[in-house]
């Protein structure tokens, strides 16, 4: 972690990016075929298929936030520029994922529950997660010096880690309109294996998309800093 500079990480990501893209396209196509071929749910009919974008995006928004929080801790404790840059590059992807969760969840909710939005514990904590992402990005771009911005935004990311167990366990701790956990729950997944495989394939496709996106944002941040530095030197 301490030997890796932002430049070496960026070079490494660039070197593997074409394999990531290839695998991502394969998995995206495979999951699209699987989703089309699947039988409808016995109770919800075809509307349950929105799950295959809603659930992977939800897992990813939580996963990205925990990555962001952990790299913020490493960045603050060990003063590691790589960790700070990772959390800076990953934050907009998490924001997009949480917006996808809220939008697809609203559509699904309108089809099944009969409402777009209610203020139950799961939906509200997910909205708060989305706002923490937004606040993190705003903090990152509201300072003149990126070191100060990284410090402030990292504190927010670490405090925001408290929200993750609340989002995950809100359906167990309180009564909610949102259904309970299907896959990661006590007693094993309550879903048939063909649905579960499709869910995992679409999750890995979306994960690879996020990694590819992350490597691009990371590269842009590094390049921008390099250009700024050379401008300062040439003055």
């Amino acid at each position: 972690m301490f030997a890796i500079t932002p430049n070496t990480l960026s070079a490494f990501l660039n070197s593997i990016s074409k394999y990531i893209v290839l695998l991502m396209i394969l998995l995206l196509g495979f999951s699209a075929i699987l989703i089309t071929l699947l039988e409808n749910d016995y109770y919800q009919g075809v509307s349950f298929k929105i799950m295959f974008i809603h659930v992977p995006a939800a897992w990813l928004s939580l996963l990205i936030f925990s990555t962001m929080g952990i790299s913020s801790i490493i960045g603050l404790v060990f003063k590691s520029p790589t960790a700070f840059t990772i959390s800076r590059a990953i934050s907009p992807i998490g924001l997009i994922m949480s917006i996808i969760v809220l939008v697809t969840g609203s559509i699904w909710g309108n089809l099944t529950w009969g409402t777009y939005w209610v203020w139950d514990a799961r939906l509200t904590s997910m909205l708060i997660l989305c706002f923490i992402y937004l606040g993190h990005i705003l903090l990152l771009y509201s300072f003149d010096h990126f070191q100060k911005a990284d410090f402030a935004a990292s504190i927010l990311a670490i405090i925001g880690l408290i929200n993750l167990p609340i989002v995950k366990f809100s359906v167990d701790w309180w009564t909610t309109l949102h259904q309970g956990s299907t896959v990661f729950r006590v007693g094993g997944p309550s879903i048939t294996s063909d649905y579960l495989i499709t869910l995992l394939v679409s999750f890995f496709a979306l994960l690879l998309l996020c990694i590819y996106w992350f490597s691009n944002i990371f590269y842009i941040i590094i390049e921008n800093r390099r250009i700024e530095r050379s401008k300062l030197l040439n003055q």
Partner: protein, 150 residues
């Protein structure tokens, strides 16, 4: 000598972060514990029956639609909500039900208790569970005799 100094600084920063995290998380835990009843989205019929001072209080009740109780008479939907403790409450609703409202399936109603054991709903929401399976899987389970649903 330099390494020891660096380790001390790292330790200090780490303790600083832990203090921040513990302060904020304990405040969140205390807030959510004291708001426990408000955060809960609905109450079950048995909890409703234990409540006092219900006079025209706006609240939500959730449970399963009792088997054989869903009917449509005089432009009013009538059904009973039952919970795990077999307590039930009668509900009347005068608008369109969501598509997924069926007998033996989850439901949440929003409204007021009119009189003893009669609830006038203003909003009805269908609550589906976390089980997903195709009809063919259910047929197969019924053949094997391991299907425990309805």
């Amino acid at each position: 000598m330099r390494i020891i100094k660096l380790n001390n600084q790292i330790k200090k920063r780490f303790i600083f972060l832990i203090i921040i995290f513990v302060c904020f998380s304990s405040s969140i835990v205390l807030i959510s514990y004291s708001l426990k009843d408000q955060i809960a989205y609905f109450v079950s019929p048995s909890e409703l029956l234990q409540m006092k001072d219900l006079d025209s209080r706006y609240l939500r009740v959730g449970g399963l639609v009792k088997e054989g109780s869903l009917k449509f008479e005089n432009n009013i939907w009538e059904f009973e909500i039952i919970d795990e403790e077999n307590q039930s409450i009668k509900v009347e609703f005068s608008k369109t039900l969501p598509n997924l409202v069926e007998e033996n399936k989850g439901i949440i109603v929003e409204g007021r208790v009119l009189k003893e054991n009669l609830f006038i709903a203003e909003i009805v929401l269908a609550k589906h569970d976390e089980n997903y399976m195709p009809q063919s899987a259910i047929d197969k389970m019924q053949e094997d005799g391991i299907w425990r649903g309805n």
